[in-house]
Subunit: 242 residues, 2 copies
């Protein structure tokens, strides 16, 4: 029986960590991997889309999609007619508590990546990218509990802009019925990061090639208000800080 | 028998398009999909990493990785010991022309996504993301031809910074032997994009919520030269333009 998460963040203390498994221990560059909650959650919370992988007819499918996090749970959503949602048993006729126990779920791999910089080495071989990524393996299951679904949808909207849920019209019954939500628990998960400059070979250090890092800048451009925005609506405070 | 691509871009004229298939026709929002070479290539060329999906032990795996494009071919690379490369038959003992004919390859889905803006609607339901993405389905096969491998590795480096291959030490025999390259032909591929403001319901237009788009800005921060850069090495022209 699933329990409904509270809306407060249930993240564990900094010292807590996810348990590494065969799938989350990299075959190479193991020193780049970490499993502590804080690192994993920070990478997840900073990105806007994840890449959700699943298997259809034996072949891999990778689709970009929004997500939200509530403690150790990730949520993705979509139309009840979309492929991954249908495959996870999210067709309306199956969306009942009765059938949920039989729901086998959908095996997924959910990956989030930030590209932080371009690493230019003296040798072509050592060119690289500074990045931070999180890879989650697990079984995504449809959320059928109405209260958990509401919390998940709030998290999805607040993931786009924190505080936005409180400043928008909540979903009505029709919209809720058209939206399926999948939950993926953070259990088998790892973070990986590369930082710093190029790792050139000692014998290459005097080559006449510039070497270093090109940092990528991320930010926001000026807001584009809807042309039909009602007069008198100011830019809300949670956007002014972007 | 594979042919070696030329280093010039073999992209087809603007009017050319990839043929849609069951896998590349979206179940929803079909108006967002396109198949012309120009749209697909532009999205691929602008990103730094792709998300490469494959199936291992029946479960999906999605990993971020660098890639390069040469005409209608994508290349990814990695250590010969890395998982996807090993799975595609890239172990050194198999890396011969003799065994290549038997190489079944690795079924992959390669996805590239740009997040362009946050779409804030009056209703929670219509919140969205402006994005451009490309999804490629196909079988990735190890590149064994030495000349094609060289062209592919050049494309990978020039994908990070155009012009960089000519200003770095080429891979030596040891580095080439340690690097496996997979090729994925662009055949079954589609682009998808969302642009513009929120699609609010007519009855929500007078709600007192700000609505519009928060554009994401992308750029570069000041270069970070390696601390051990030899004196007298200037910032090259191809970086000054970033």
């Amino acid at each position: 029986m699933q329990t409904t998460p509270s809306t407060t963040d249930t993240a564990s203390p900094d010292s807590a960590a996810y348990t590494p498994t065969d799938r989350t221990i990299p075959t190479r560059s193991r020193e780049r991997a970490s499993y502590d909650h804080e690192s994993v959650h920070a990478i997840l919370d900073e990105a806007y889309v994840c890449h959700l992988g699943f298997v259809r007819d034996g072949a891999p499918v990778v689709l970009p999609t929004l997500y939200g996090r509530v403690g150790d749970r990730l949520y993705v959503h979509g139309s009840t007619g979309s492929r991954p949602l249908r495959m996870a048993g999210a067709s309306p006729e199956k969306a009942t508590e009765e059938t949920r126990e039989e729901d086998p779920g959908l095996e997924v791999c959910l990956t989030v990546t930030h590209v932080d910089g371009l690493v230019l080495a003296r040798s072509a071989f050592h060119h690289s990218i500074n990045y931070r990524s999180v890879v989650v393996h697990g079984t995504a299951r449809q959320v059928t509990d109405p209260e958990e679904k509401r919390v998940a949808l709030d998290a999805l909207v607040d993931h786009v802009v924190p505080g936005r849920t409180a400043d928008s019209r909540p979903a009505n019954a029709k919209e809720l019925a058209a939206t399926a939500v999948l939950r993926l628990d953070l259990n088998e998960v790892s973070a990986k990061a590369r930082t710093g400059g190029p790792n050139d070979e000692p014998e290459d250090m005097d080559l006449p090639h510039w070497a270093g890092v090109v940092p990528l800048r991320k930010g926001y451009d000026a807001l584009i208000p809807s042309a039909d925005l009602a007069p008198g609506i100011e830019v809300p405070g949670y956007l002014a800080g972007l």
